[in-house]
Each structure stands twice: as structure tokens, then as C-alpha cells.
Symmetry: C2
Subunit: 227 residues, 2 copies
């Protein structure tokens, strides 16, 4: 299929955004990655995102920014990560790993990049079912940002809005994984763990959601098989 | 008046945001500034923003980020600034100084800072009357971002939304200046010119809007009197 439509895919290096990237390619989008270095605890996930782009031979841009106010255990090494939660408890309360305004910032940068490069869409791997409970992963927020992007850009005002696509929004983690494996996502390249050691910790919310997703899909996690 | 309510004021160093800062103080807000270094053509406006914070003895944070895709003559020294326009023509077409997604990025960072610091409001000096025609200065965009911020933040989900306040949105430039002088805004500290030389160029859209505003208000621009 010729790739005539251009899209920006927000890439964290994790499982969801990797799947969103392969989804966009399968839909015929000429995808480019947008990566963010914003003082995460570790750069392991950034290296995963770059490896995905290299695997697909696609361009990417890296935006660096500081959040000098922190306000999240994900950015502040002096704050502990939250205690491990049972899978049932995950998503019931907004955890300390929540980064205030993060997806609004990411989507705003994505819209800027998309408009500057003439792309018709920004793709985000946000997911509101098997997720950590972050408010900026929910459908009503994604819709509100899409409207803001349409109204706040020249492209939108001229009838060529940059669309915000969140193809995983209403899928379970196991559905995401099943779809991703069908699309050929190299999950062994992805990194979900909040910690940045040589191997995933297996205990944080993100590791637990990932493990449960693979288990429900009846599949082994290739990232764990490497260990 | 005790300053019990905390607010983040987006400060560019220009006339509008300076007035918005003094408006917030007059409304009793405990204001702090949020400044952005994003590869502007010059840092003259940043120095103006810092001088305003110093004058009022208020804290500020500076967020640095890159926009590697540029897409605006305001960020790309190799692109000419637009030809001077008549004042009547300003606002009729979106000029090349438009930075894709800029106010969405600024407001998203503002919401992040506000939430992390427990502030109830983000104040922006956007103005949709005597303005350059940027889509991200219009009321419907500001409203859409306010909704996105409410839905996408923990504070908003818990019934303590960070409000987006745009007190200058529907004022003319001369009304803004008249209000600002009443509030004691030291306009001699502000910088509006798109160029960064020792004195304002007097020819760019921003200089023309400012000059016309002072003329209509029947006042002299203190920044020009210094020359």
C-alpha cells in the first residue's frame, strides 16, 4: 500500500506506543516517531523507542524539555515508586507516577510537529482499560485535546485538521498484545518497567499490567524470554 | 488583600502577558511566572519577563524546549520575517511568525506547573482583537484547552480544576494599555518586537500593534521614550 498519508506517532518505547506505531503503518500511514526526553528516571525506554524506529527505518524527532516542578515519583529520584499493587487495585486510584499534564504536553508537541511537517494525524498509544488510572489516558480528555488542536492550529482553521488517533483507547492489554503480534511488533525491543535496570523489575504497575496482558493473551513476553 | 489563591502566569516579556500578570496580582492571586526558552530569535523578551518578576519579587520557572521542526519564521533565522503589514491587514491572515501549537504547548506546561504546585489557575495574556491572527489566541481554542486541562489532570478529576484565565481576550490593545497603566505595569520593561536589536524595529506586526495601541489610548509608550 502506498504511504501517502503522513502521521506523527508518539513513542515512549513501551508496549502500547510500539503497537500504535505498527497499527499506523498497517493503516497505510507514512509514520514518523516523536520521542520525549523530559527527565525520566532512566533512558532505557528512550533507547527502546529509537530501536523501534531503526527497525522500521523511519525518521524520528526527539524533544527535550525540563519539568522543573517535578510533582511525580516518575521524575523525582528522591521519591519512592508506589508500593506494588494488585492488578485489581491498579487503575482505581491515580498513583504517584502520574506526571501532571504529561499527555497534554505530548499531544501539543505532536500537533506542532504534525502541522509543521504537513502530517494529517498524531497517533497516541493511550489506553483506558488496563492502565494505571492516569486521567490523561481517558477518552474524554483525548477528545477534548483533539478539539483544542483543531481550533488552535492553522491547519485546523483551514479545514485540514490534524487528527488525534488513539487506536488502543478501548482495548484491553491482551487485545493490544494480540493485535500487535499479528502486526509483527517486536515486543522484545520494548520497555515497560518504571525502573531502568538491566531487566524489568516485574513488580511495578507497568510490569504487572504487561505480564497480565501477555498471560491473558496466552502468550509469552519476548522481553522476558531474553533474560 | 491577602494572596491566598495561587496562579501561574505565562510570561513572554511582552505587553500583554505583563498586563495579565498585574491583573492577576490585582485580583489577589499569589502569582508566579512561567517563562519559555524555545529557540526564539532573540532572548530580549526573556530578559524582559525576568525583569518583571524581579520587579514584583515573585518566583518564576523557566522551561526550555526545542522545536526541531521549526515551521515558523519566528524560530528560523534563515527565514525572513513577514513584510510589514498595514494595521488593517494584521489579523486577516495567519502570518509566518505563527508557531504551530505554541499556546497549546504553553498552556499544557502551565497546567502541569499549576497542578504540581497546587495553583488554581493559569493566566494567559492571549488577545483576540488587536492581534496577529494566530488561531491559538482565539476564545474557542482557549475554552477547548481549559476543558482538556480539566479532564486531563488529577486536580480536575477530583473537582479542583486548574482554571485557564485569559483576562485580555476580548480587549483592544488600547484597553489593555489603559488597564495596565492603571495597574502600574512598568511597560518600559516589556519587549514586543519580533526582532531583538537594541531598540524595537517599529515595523513588525507586533511593534505596529503596540504603537497603535498606545496612540489610541492617547499615551506615549515608555519603552520608546527610553530611546
Amino acid at each position: 500500500m502506498p504511504r501517502t498519508r503522513k502521521a506523527v506517532v508518539l513513542l515512549s518505547g513501551g508496549l502500547d506506543s510500539a503497537t500504535a506505531l505498527y497499527w499506523a503503518r498497517a493503516k497505510g500511514y507514512d509514520a514518523r516517531g516523536l520521542l520525549f526526553d523530559y527527565g525520566q528516571r532512566h533512558d532505557r525506554e528512550l533507547r527502546s523507542a529509537m530501536a523501534l524506529c531503526q527497525r522500521l527505518h523511519i525518521d524520528f524527532e526527539l524533544v527535550r524539555f525540563s519539568l522543573p516542578w517535578r510533582g511525580s515519583s516518575l521524575l523525582d529520584p528522591s521519591r519512592p515508586l508506589p508500593h506494588p499493587r494488585t492488578r485489581a487495585a491498579i487503575g482505581t486510584r491515580i498513583p504517584s507516577t502520574y506526571v501532571p499534564g504529561r499527555n497534554a504536553i505530548f499531544l501539543a508537541f505532536g500537533a506542532s510537529y504534525a502541522e509543521a511537517e504537513g502530517c494529517g494525524a498524531v497517533v497516541i498509544g493511550a489506553n483506558a482499560l488496563d492502565y494505571s488510572g492516569y486521567p490523561d489516558c481517558r477518552p474524554d480528555f483525548i477528545r477534548a485535546m483533539a478539539r483544542a488542536v483543531t481550533l488552535g492550529t492553522k491547519a485546523g482553521r483551514e479545514g485540514r485538521p490534524v487528527r488525534i488517533l488513539a487506536p488502543l483507547l478501548k482495548l484491553t492489554k491482551s487485545q493490544i498484545i494480540t493485535m500487535g503480534l499479528r502486526l509483527g511488533v517486536p515486543y522484545e525491543l520494548t520497555w515497560s518497567c518504571y525502573r531502568g535496570g538491566p531487566v524489568p523489575c516485574g513488580r511495578c504497575d507497568s510490569c504487572r499490567l504487561r505480564a497480565a496482558g501477555f498471560a491473558r493473551a496466552g502468550l509469552a513476553d519476548p522481553a522476558m524470554q531474553r533474560i
